[in-house]
């Protein structure tokens, strides 16, 4: 397990540094009381605040506050669109700014949840941010009305300008902002009907592109400050192992080296003038490890253990209907298959890093995090300081994919900085360290048994999942009676987080938990990835056994699930399922639901020898509301790059208790030549709010796998496909 630093009694007890609070982070009321009512502006926040979400400068600049993280997914722009829409702002004058986690505590967490995982940035904050924009608009109108001594109801606002039609008077937001900021903030203002949206719902360009094409965007790795030193870190290569000893004298004379430190019980760091010097010295540092009890664990031993779980007794049921045993016993035809899904690495292109400055009465951290409050909690715990003496400053993320909801790199940076008070320390993990001492998409296997009647109708389906629980490691407090409900993402009887979309009279989906020592974590799409592969591949297997068309076979079971069916029909129609595919080209289709959204895909592939050519992919999503169709289109297409990279090139293997793949030479990522052409269908029904950043990744792999089966007659059930000598052509 991870090292958990001792905590100062005065510090808030808001979780361990082991990642338990990375999601669902909540500050207890006692913590808020300890900070008191010293509500104040954050040092960098613009004054003339109109509520908490908007501040306007005299020059009409609109400063919109964003607390969710931007890691490329576009939420910063989308959230700003929602607020600007209700504000009736001039979009060309919109900028964004970021209240720090400490700002949030000082305001009694008025800005709400900072967490940006689970595709939740917009779907879980749209209501209150839009109300924030609307309240600010009402305050600005009221201030102008007061100045003109006319009723506010006679004034209108548009494009950052307020007009009183009867008198012909106009003014701008910037001119009345100071007066407006002194007015009370209206509660629960009415919101616009999305059909009247002018800014939200439009395919606007991102707000943060200009700096990214000239090399000026400040990522966490780019942060620097006077007197800063750099640190390179090495963890025990076997998870659960510890540092036995190291010989600092061997490297302390090397150029630039300032200090060799033990960071915690499992890791050692070298601090030097530059990171390259630190890494060079660390590579030369003799370290003895106590590798612990996991040194003999391998991918094969893990697989064997999981295999036992496919038939073991378990009481943890995710979805149940009827009597599967009886239905299977009486089946005209029985179909069985076993699948497995490997560990995957997030492999964010920017390796994990953070800069920390610690003194006896203050600790500041500059980093990129998907959850600023989790990073803040980690800094509080590691520093041992009171929360109002700690803050975390946001910098741009070089991707997140779930990895940056974990804050161990903040903990480690602070633990190093504590050993050099007053000196800013930038901790950067090498690619190899990032890859081999991270956290991973969990490993599972699944045994599926299906029963068909004489007409080829599905009368029963059993899915036994065996394998690793993310929550048992990452959020033990979220476990239910010792079991992990997130295991069943996309297979649940209902609910926004992933509802099963087939009407099968006898159904049993259960889980035998087996947790190897490799730490699991949330990885874009999380458990939906393997659950969609298991279910949607097997539905195809049953269709084949029944001698029926995979689309027609699905449709028979989906009458009660119109939204699931809606996206499936959309991709079928666009790909031309009812017409023959081009010569030599074969199709696969699938659907899934999760993170509030309904998704489907159809793939067209040809297979020649061991080369799979993906000619065309059609993907559809119904995310409820489409806040920025241009950015949604990108998330759809690009989720296929991430998902298909994992399917073909990814997979993490374990040897001698440690991760084998250390870099992109062995853990591949799709490049330009392999990129499939993805056509997207965005079909919001405007009656709910679903996520965008993840959902379409669920259908990337199964659509292609079903198309490969159609092309070859071979069903692939273990991954990555490189291990089956199957490559992208």
């Amino acid at each position: 397990m991870n090292f958990v630093p001792k905590m100062n009694r005065r510090a808030f007890v808001i979780g361990s540094a082991a990642g338990g609070l990375a999601l669902g982070f909540g500050l207890p009321k006692s913590a808020l009381a300890a900070v008191g009512d010293r509500a104040q502006f954050g040092e960098n926040l613009t004054s003339n605040e109109l509520g908490i979400w908007v501040a306007i400068k005299p020059d009409d600049t609109v400063c919109i506050r964003i607390v969710r993280a931007e890691m490329g997914q576009g939420s910063q722009t989308g959230l700003a669109q929602l607020i600007a829409e209700e504000l009736e702002a001039d979009w060309s004058k919109v900028t964004t700014e970021y209240p720090t986690p400490a700002d949030n505590v000082k305001r009694k967490r008025a800005w709400g949840n900072y967490n940006s995982s689970g595709s939740r940035a917009i779907r879980e904050s749209h209501q209150y941010v839009r109300e924030g924009g609307a309240a600010a608009r009402l305050m600005l109108i009221q201030a102008a009305a007061n100045e003109w001594k006319v009723p506010a109801s006679e004034c209108t606002a548009s494009n950052s300008t307020i007009t009183h039609a009867a008198s012909g008077k106009t003014t701008t937001y910037g001119k009345v902002a100071e007066a407006a900021a002194k007015l009370p903030v209206p509660e629960k203002p009415a919101l616009k009907n999305p059909k009247d949206w002018k800014i939200a719902g439009k395919p606007l360009k991102r707000l943060d592109t200009a700096d990214k094409v000239v090399g000026k965007m400040m990522y966490s790795i780019d942060y620097t400050m006077p007197g800063m030193l750099s640190a390179a870190i090495k963890d025990c290569p076997v998870f659960g192992g510890k540092v036995k000893s190291f010989d600092a004298a061997k490297v302390s004379g090397m150029k630039g080296v300032k200090k060799v430190v033990q960071v915690d019980d499992k890791s050692v760091a070298v601090v030097a003038d530059t990171w390259w010097q630190a890494k060079t010295a660390l590579d030369a540092l003799p370290i003895e490890w106590d590798k612990g009890s996991n040194e003999k664990v391998s991918s094969a031993s893990i697989a064997k253990w999981l295999e036992e779980g496919l038939t073991a007794e378990t009481k943890f049921v995710g979805n149940k209907a009827g009597d599967t045993a009886a239905a299977i016993a009486g089946a005209a035809k029985k179909v069985e298959a076993v699948y497995s899904y490997p560990y995957q690495n997030h492999a964010c292109l920017e390796p994990m890093n953070a800069t920390a400055l610690y003194t006896a009465d203050k600790c500041e951290v500059w980093t990129s995090s998907q959850n600023g409050e989790a990073a803040y909690a980690a800094a509080i715990a590691a520093s041992g300081l009171h929360a109002d003496k700690v803050d975390v400053h946001r910098l741009m993320l070089g991707t997140g994919f779930g990895r940056r909801t974990r804050s161990e790199y903040v903990t480690e940076a602070v633990l190093i900085a504590k050993q050099m008070p007053g000196t800013p320390i930038k901790l950067l993990k090498s690619r190899e360290e990032d890859m081999t001492n991270g956290v991973y998409h969990p490993v599972t296997q699944c045994k599926l048994t299906g029963a068909l009647d004489k007409d080829g109708n599905v009368t029963a389906l059993q899915m036994r999942i065996s394998g690793q629980s993310i929550l048992a490691y990452a959020r033990p407090e979220a476990m239910q009676a010792g079991a992990d409900p997130a295991t069943f993402q996309g297979l649940n009887p209902g609910g926004a987080e992933g509802a099963f979309g087939y009407d099968i009279p006898n159904l049993l989906i259960d889980h035998s938990m087996r947790n190897p020592h490799i730490p699991p974590w949330f990885w874009r799409g999380v458990n939906n990835n393997q659950n969609a592969i298991y279910l949607e591949s097997f539905i195809d297997e049953m269709a084949h056994a029944a001698g029926q068309d995979p689309l027609a076979f699905r449709r028979k079971m989906m009458a009660k699930f119109p939204k699931h069916l809606g996206v499936l029909n959309a991709v079928a129609e666009r790909v031309g399922w009812d017409k023959p595919a081009p010569q030599g080209v074969f199709r696969g289709i699938c659907q899934h639901m999760g993170y509030g959204s309904y998704v489907a895909a159809a793939a067209e592939v040809s297979v020649s020898g061991n080369k799979v050519k993906m000619h065309r992919i059609v993907a559809a999503t119904n995310p409820g509301h489409a806040v920025n169709p241009a950015q949604i289109e990108r998330q759809i297409a690009c989720s296929f790059v991430y998902g298909l990279s994992a399917l073909f090139h990814g997979g993490i293997t374990i040897k001698d208790g440690a991760v084998v793949e250390t870099n992109f030479d062995t853990f591949g990522s799709i490049r330009m030549a392999e990129m499939p052409r993805v056509e997207s269908i965005i079909m919001p029904t405007n009656d709910f709010w679903g996520g965008v950043g993840e959902p379409t990744i669920f259908v990337a792999a199964p659509a292609v796998l079903n198309a490969i089966f159609a092309a070859t007659g071979k069903r692939y059930r273990t991954f990555p496909l490189k291990d089956q000598n199957l490559q992208i052509g």
């Binding site: 576009g74 000026k216 292109l349």
Partner: protein
């Protein structure tokens, strides 16, 4: 001391000659637009031009860059005017997280220098940098747009 000419300016830096050019640029000169991704010339986030040739600077020693003209992403714009590739990247809203895009742009600039009107096959062959966000469709469109600018 090693003298490097970066973006038309000489920098005398105190660095071991075996230091990868990437780290000299980032840490000794202080230009951070060039990124670290893998350290083994796999991902291309560190791509700079050395005497006009797109080079993965993480695996290129400083000693080999002495006397060379080095151009980084910060030196691509001339007299405050963006390079046509940068303009196309803006126009096509290419970056997502943006971390790889300095390297992608530097690779694209060299591609267009050698192949002013590249085909899709040329782009497939020459653009080999990794983008974990997956912006390849936008990169391809932007390269074609820059070629026609």
């Amino acid at each position: 001391m090693v003298r490097l000419n970066i973006n038309g300016k000489d920098h005398d830096i105190d660095v071991d000659p075996n230091t990868p050019l990437l780290w000299a640029i980032r840490e000794n000169v202080g230009l951070t637009g060039t990124k670290y991704g893998c350290g083994i010339a796999q991902c291309g986030a560190c791509t700079v031009h050395v005497d006009g040739v797109a080079t993965r600077s993480c695996s290129y020693p400083v000693s080999a860059a002495v006397n060379a003209k080095i151009v980084t992403i910060e030196g691509l714009a001339q007299n405050g005017v963006l390079h046509k590739v940068q303009k196309a990247w803006l126009e096509h809203d290419v970056p997502q997280c943006g971390y790889c895009q300095s390297g992608q742009i530097m690779a694209a600039v060299e591609l267009l220098k050698n192949k002013p009107k590249p085909t899709d096959a040329d782009i497939d062959r020459e653009m080999t940098n990794i983008c974990r966000c997956g912006t390849f469709q936008q990169i391809r469109a932007a390269i074609h747009a820059a070629a026609n600018a």
